[in-house]
Symmetry: D3
Subunit: 296 residues, 6 copies
């Protein structure tokens, strides 16, 4: 345990660099112009990587080994400044080169091209574990068709995600009733934040495993699934959300889910303080890495 | 879903303006000189209205319709700068013109003139659902008789509130033992924050409904009932408080209570960050509106 | 001097509402997706209006009368969320309805459609007084053609602005040398921030009046012309900038310039503190209003 | 140079305690309910004392000896919570016990009782060196007669201050023209902030010395005389103000003025950051102490 | 209830000064150079004392009397600036003079000399109730042997603490597996934060009482045992931690434990906001004082 | 001008990486335990590098070409956690490998080993251009011999720096008179901040060039030479300091000075906001690079 203290480490996620070949690849996607409220998630990748330094020194406490083995960080994806459709196309194209991709957003609109790329690679609809305060199945937001509140509307309509194997956890925002009804009619399972608080983490994890089954699934984690007390640094906060311990506890109980990728989105550092949001995001990615490594 | 994005909306609560006749009226009361610790709640009305914009786009998730229908926002009440008694008189006078008033404070001293006005209108003592970290039944605070810690001492003594139908939720501050004993002797029910954590939201809501019964009641919500993690932007924070999800869960279970008015007090934006306190206040008012509309 | 204290005033600029017919119109343009660095200027209009309340109580100290007479505030312009070209078109269309428009941005890309609309109304190229840390004459920014750093490249190329009657004050950022040379070759006069510090406000004001002459001119004020000490809340700060007193002193010496409109852009409140940037922006707009009224 | 590092020192101004008999007495006045905009100056005394620790280690750089000799800090004055007239009476009564008092506010309304007490002690009208962004000679503020904007209206009317020996430095806020004219008609000399920027510190200091002469004078320093860049933590900021170096340079040139007391007011820590405002206030008090000691 | 409002109180913890002879002594230890990540806990004592003012006015709500009786605050211990071994020696020496010491840190390295002094006084190994996110039993941190992550490694090795009577609550950070295993092999009981969330406060308190038994014990509370939502102002935050209500509820259930001293460490005010961390620390010390007084 | 926007760039200073052989080397030194007041400069290197991204896009405005050519960033130096003497030795050893080193601190104590290494390389005493609020020639600070306030005491005593060729700019803190006198007696030239404000940047630059002459010199820039308005994020701020434009203007006038290295120290990001301090530090390093390149 000698060497550079964590605060002097280079900047990749958990200190990873871009050189390693196999395993899991981290990429940042500094894109935030599809937000409907507070922007700033373009600085999310940088903030999450920086906060991840606090997690480097030691092994994961339940996995009992480092989660950074075999990890590489390819840096940030190129985007088309100020242009949503061109950026989504660029993201999809870059994502398609990686076997198992964990992305740091960026706003939630990036999930659509990431899912498109993964769907092409796997050749079948994906299960989806979706943590969020919002359903994100609006056909549009104030006229914007590919906004951050519409990514799963398109993913379902395009057949990329199997709505019967899709579950949303933490939902609690105001929502147009016809949007909510459409989502339920597709077969999506919705657990509100109040459901999580009432039923407990064990029951929630069981239901997630049941809904997504054993086929390949994807984890999309909007940091606003957490309560603003735990994650103030985000664009469209809603009160009444999850504690970080609940999110951790649920993730740790998802052994057996066949995860093929993950994104962590909507971290907006300008609204954060003392890096608590960035640290929450980094640690939840860290939990995902431990979970996936546990399967190996 | 076209039109102005929420961040470009005009400034009334949930976008309401002052034109509508009937229904519920929102008013701000930018008064904070009766505080005993941190001032700044004079900026509460502005901050709560601004945060409420985040709630405009969509229906209430369990009411399944907009809560803004029939709502009007009359702006801020006039106050007498630097003069507590004159301000309380002005507040009572202005409050007396409205049928069903929901006020955005301001410090808790404003509850007294609001209750006086409502008591005059209804002609009988009111039930009181009182969320707070403090009992607010001190005869005085450092000699100040109408301070923000004395409003319910006067309300009980003046016969405005029926202490047998009064319940306090979230209490946890240091308090003079004789003040506490006097309060209990009047018949007030006190649920400490630890009581809420131990018994759960269902039991608390049941007890509230039992205590206040079916006669007209009033909801007074001091934002410091919430834990400082969830509501840092307030004047006299106390640790160990409620999570926002608990406050929401309790409010949603108060169907059947005959509410005749509400205030949301002690939001001090200078101590807030990322608008989390203002958003908590706005959302809890939104829950009240949904609750009252549910009854219609 | 009775009535509502300033902190309880309604939300229009200097308390103005939208009802008055003639005079000068304030409009907000909550658009910020053409930024190349920190976003957030979509919240600029709200923040500038709020800060303007501090200026309401009293007359302008050198004009010796209120500057709010005849002022109306039409609220915010509609924009196309997430779509730069559609937003620019919408802004131009809305701007074309007003005689003398003072807009609160928003990022600097909005200056282009505002100038297009004004040019159509007046039928001839405009003089331009341009306060900024950046020349904003880049053909593109990382490929983005209508970004906030390219507005005057287009304005010059489209013949909207007469580069011989265009003067830039406060310039100091890194810049591609060919962009700088192109700008100078068009005939634009550039005063760096160091020039202002060395020559003094009187000489700068004299040169501005000489460059723009007596034909109609437009004032475009990027808040990053100010030093970050005076205006931290902006997207692309550069050190070494102007003090607020210098900007005020220069503006007050521009009597005789025939101003036909103004914009105040790039206020990003998420990076502000204690509202100092918003107050600087509001006060400089207030100085413009005093300047224009002085001419009447 | 051994012993406790400055950050571990006890809390009095410059480490002074209340025990010493003679010399100069520091007192805090945690009173802020006469403010018309942002409150919070009640926490000014604590913040200024804390910031003063940074100045303890070493001698004053131009006085070349410690300024803390003979200094005592009597703690905070008692006030009447929520009651302006009673508080002003209490302040006057407590102030009257001290020979040479330097007070840490609190809002500017405290200057009136402090001047009343000093006037009684000295038996003749005082000269006044008044640093401020505002004239503070309004007959009332929104109806409030003893607000923080009216202290010198009363001081002049009560014959406590000799307006011919009164000079205001840094004035720049909006102001009712008749208030401004009344002030000038009394014989008060007004130097705007722009006057200071144009004429320079030497000329300003010379004029101050000429106006107040050799009879006893009082220094009242509203921290908003400084620009918000240098002093964001205050209630009614105005841009275009003084830099701290200008205030220091002017004070250091006031040798020969016969100062009988000082107040430093309107430091509102909730709006400060990194203690820059509190440090500015502490250092300017420190300059005053050096100035007065220089005379001994 | 007259006298100085709490915000005007002198600076000792709960207003205590250094004069009282017997009872419990508060001391600050402004030492933070043994931290491995964010420094700044040197300002912890000052911040905790200041926040404690909010707790002065009234009795402890369940103890039903003041906890400040017999309390004295001796100020801050001298330390050797920039020198870890010399500082630890100084701390031990100063601590040895006090009967029952409650210290305000400072980083966790101070626990070692405090325990050494207490061990010498009592002449036998201590039981330890240790709230923390980290085990702090690393042999070294990046080569630093007496860092803040190694204090209990030494305390166990030196025979000061009886590992069979040592329990850690809130553990959740990454940790080297051999460090964790060594700790368990010594006989230390470890309750992770997830354990607390799952089992509940009653079970945790029961287990603590069982582990430490009736012999003298010491409470060491690293504020990062709390979740960053409740305590952002600390050096090595970890998500998923305890709520303040849980810490309070556990402490209140520790009647019967024979506590001989306490420290509250790792409060780093530069990362706090609205004093929530300092207030949490102050209130948990206050709970300890109530707990100890309950035993008398 | 295509490619990654600046906010997505990798983390080296101006985007430089460690690969390039020749030219100038950037290194971070995350060491801050020799501070006497606020710590936190260990995070300075990271913050300065991040802020430097804002300067990448374009050429230096007066040099008219990129300053990043031939630049490499070797990352952070290893330090000995918690151990001042061992860290200074490590720093000297690492520094000795580089031809022309520009370091990002870190507190000012790092200047001593950097100067020692450079002195060994060059074999003769160095001239020193020293921007600071403090003389940093104290024999010790509260007993600490190698604290951040003593680096130049040792450098002079060790014959590393030639005091006749040493000039300090911006000095203004309290200081022990015998320390100040010793410094002057060695032959050091001291320009106070007030001297800079009075004499102007041209005169200051001329004097610097005269003092240091044409032999090799070193630039040591303590960010607290700047006023806290321009650089709040530092450990021992003093009011009355330099504006960033003054520092820039002076540096640009130092053509002809034979600079052999530079450090930028005392940036403490926890006290910064909106990155203004980090940006000031990055830009002044950028000016140094332009200055040195101008000579080539």
């Amino acid at each position: 345990m000698t060497g550079l203290p964590t605060f002097a480490m280079p900047g990749g996620f958990l200190g990873a660099d871009g050189d390693t070949g196999g395993g899991i690849t981290i990429a940042g996607i500094p894109f935030d112009i599809a937000t409907t409220n507070r922007p700033g998630a373009r600085f999310g990748p940088e903030a999450i990587r920086r906060a991840s330094k606090m997690l480097v020194d030691g092994d994961h406490p339940t996995l009992r080994r480092s989660v950074a083995l075999g990890l590489n960080d390819t840096g940030d994806f190129a985007i088309a400044l100020g242009d949503v459709p061109a950026s989504l196309a660029l993201i999809e194209q870059q994502a398609s080169q990686f076997e198992h991709l964990v992305t740091l957003g960026g706003d939630h609109s990036i999930a659509l091209p990431l899912l498109r790329a993964l769907h092409k690679r796997l050749g079948r609809p994906l299960g989806l574990v979706h943590f969020d305060a919002h359903v994100d199945t609006w056909p549009d937001s104030f006229g914007q068709v590919y906004g951050h509140g519409s990514c799963f509307y398109h993913a379902i309509n395009e057949g990329i995600v199997d709505p019967k194997r899709m579950i949303q956890i933490g939902i609690r925002s105001p929502v147009q009733t016809d949007v909510l009804d459409w989502t339920l009619q597709q077969g999506v399972t919705i657990l509100s934040a109040q459901d999580v608080h009432e039923r407990g983490v064990e029951a929630v994890a069981t239901q997630i495993r049941q809904v997504v089954g054993e086929q390949p699934s994807y984890l999309t984690f909007d940091i606003d699934a957490l309560d603003p007390a735990f994650a103030p640094g985000t664009g469209t906060p809603e009160i009444g959300g999850l504690a970080t311990w609940q999110a951790q506890a649920i993730l740790r109980r998802l052994s057996g889910v066949n995860f093929a990728g993950m994104d962590m989105v909507e971290v907006a550092p300008a609204y954060d303080h003392a890096e608590v949001t960035a640290l929450a995001a980094a640690t939840l990615v860290y939990e995902y890495l431990a979970l996936v490594q546990r399967e190996v």
